[in-house]
Point group: C2
Chain length 380, copies 2
């Protein structure tokens, strides 16, 4: 019933200041007000990128949220940390342990040396079979995209459309790292990073934080007249190393997480008004549409090229710009998706408002599909 967000980008602030900004924003967003002293538990999503506080970082959250002694837990599932922290927070509320729970995510990625950054960018992939062999995340997603394009050659245009669309959306999000339109042609002509992925197929390395406040559903109207409800949670895992999976072009973790979330929420896909999906690389948005059941295998190409996933389309995807344009501060990304859901379902998304948005889905992936969390929300 509250949510806060810093700018994403190459920022001057360190992780503590970023967290403070997001948490302050979350408390300030509660229409009818809430005492900070009412906070009963807090969850922190962070990879601890660059080693700012590798162990016990959740206690920092306590300090920056000005709580006193409340339990804090770090939840880390790489880029899916935020989605899993939300899951942990919802469970804490639903067990009745806490009336007011904070879920925050943060990452500070831009102030480390290039050598350290390469190390930290790789640590969420499989260490034994991928990282130590020199395979980077762009490399892994490049393999996935190669296989996908072999089967669905028009996927290259769809990937370019994903980048172009998400950059267009980002221009309407003042918190987005990039505020710059790019055309499909620019995407296709960009320097190669890991063929077939070019520069504009890859999300940036960003700093940023986001925070959410959760209360039991039956108490929400005590704090706001426009509550947003968590209707369903789902999560799933898969082998870390992609070489151990039978098919590169589908994330079993997403499939399981999505099925569980739809079952938990008791809604059909037709009810979803917009999606926040994990587009760390453009190919990942296509996979997400298919693995979440919004398209058949290969069907995300036509769905995307039809314009349906644009802000003006029938199923907007990543109206905030997505990881691609908004930025991807690892631990913050999954929490940031829910911040966007919160704004949209309250009708408070300004220039990027999805008309009549009532039900939304957020999809967060860890690594190259080793972990995934899916959540479904509705407005009150």
């Amino acid at each position: 019933m509250g949510a806060g967000h810093t700018r994403f980008g190459a920022l001057e602030d360190g992780p503590r200041a970023l967290l403070r900004g997001a948490v302050d924003g979350a408390f300030a967003s509660v229409d009818k007000g809430v005492e900070r002293g009412a906070l009963r538990e807090a969850f922190l999503a962070t990879l601890g990128f660059g080693g700012w506080q590798i162990g016990n970082s959740s206690a920092v959250l306590l300090e920056e949220a000005a709580g006193v002694g409340v339990p804090t837990t770090r939840v880390e599932n790489a880029c899916a940390s935020g989605g899993y922290a939300l899951r942990a927070g919802v469970r804490a509320v639903e067990r009745g342990d806490a009336e007011l729970v904070l879920v925050a995510g943060v990452e500070k990625m831009t102030d480390v040396t290039n050598a350290r950054r390469r190390y930290w960018l790789g640590v969420s992939g499989d260490t034994e079979w991928e990282r130590l062999a020199g395979l980077t995340f762009a490399g892994v997603y490049g393999l996935i995209a190669s296989d996908y394009l072999h089967r669905h050659p028009r996927g290259a245009d769809a990937m370019a459309e994903v980048a172009s669309k998400n950059h267009e959306n980002g221009t309407r999000n003042p918190n987005a790292h990039f505020q710059k339109r790019i055309s499909r042609e620019e995407v296709l002509r960009a320097p190669r990073v890991a063929d077939p992925l070019g520069l504009y197929d890859c999300c940036p390395v960003s700093d940023g934080a986001a925070a959410l406040l959760l209360v039991p559903a039956d108490r929400a109207r005590q704090y706001t007249d426009t509550p947003v409800y968590v209707d369903g949670l789902g999560a799933g895992s898969d082998r870390l190393a992609v070489q151990e999976r039978p098919d590169l072009t589908t994330f079993e973790a997403t499939r399981r997480a999505g099925a569980q979330a739809f079952h938990d929420a008791g809604v059909d896909r037709e009810r979803i008004d917009f999606l926040e999906v994990h587009d760390c690389f453009t190919i990942a948005e296509l996979l997400a549409l298919e693995d979440l059941g919004f398209a058949e295998p290969g069907g995300a190409v036509d769905l995307t090229l039809s314009g349906a996933t644009r802000a003006s389309g029938r199923l907007p995807v990543n109206p905030d710009g997505g990881l691609k344009s908004k930025g991807h501060p690892i631990g913050a990304s999954g929490v940031s998706q829910v911040y966007e859901v919160f704004l949209q379902l309250r009708g408070a998304a300004g220039a990027r408002q999805v008309p009549a948005a009532e039900v939304a889905l957020a999809h967060n992936v860890g690594g190259a599909g080793a972990t995934a969390a899916v959540s479904i929300f509705s407005r009150g």
Copy 2:
């Protein structure tokens, strides 16, 4: 309703093999049997010491538990990771999300270079005010012990008794890292590490893993005739840097976690038959007894010197040898405490069985008291 444990010590196995050993043991411990395919969720406690898999390590649990696609989450609160992973696991069961949940902890600490080990041993303390200033954990606990001994000079003997008692207990635990008796005199005469802490005041650096299987309370007898119940959970946090706390000789995080656990379980301290407390340094066992309410400030000295906390005493503390003698593979330690509770409450602890043990408490601390988790258990 199931629990498994590897040896703790300087072992040849890597983290995956250690996890597999503990998880296999947990499944094998279920009297009436259970299908691995029934597993619905899994939580991994690990610091990722040495960097074996810094991000997304929870997916490894899936591979080593032979599950298919089940959600896995890494919970990291430094040395308290295990206690918090249990908390997360219990909540998953109690929300009704899963009938069978796995909670496992692992650390592989002995195969890293000395330079890397020093780095990794420091990462759970405050980075800004302690680690970067050169303060190690032994240094922080040395400061705490200095202050404590200034107020309670006989504490030095009590600390020596903690070491001697826990080493005695460790000789009856085949999984313990150390299997060696030491006298109080040896403890007091040992080389200094961080005055007033000597070599035998400090727990070792160990490899090891432990695992637990949880089911809803009303289903437990379907799997075993001797179930162990989780009756209460508590957790609390504190400022990371000890310089920011008003009193060095008490852990506010433990006080809050203990109060919450006793409230949640609805039992009095008199009902507790034995304790597993976080004795990373001998001073920490004294603090735990006081912060958990089993002694007044300074009262842990007499309680300990009276012999009450020995295996044969009225309130045995760390019958398995504690971190001090059993070893302290960071992520595994909090889970290992619950393994001991499981054995004891089923009457299966062999040579170290606490007579007529019915109710027990486990206490797990992260860093120098930045985070703490307390859980209370009873036998069926």
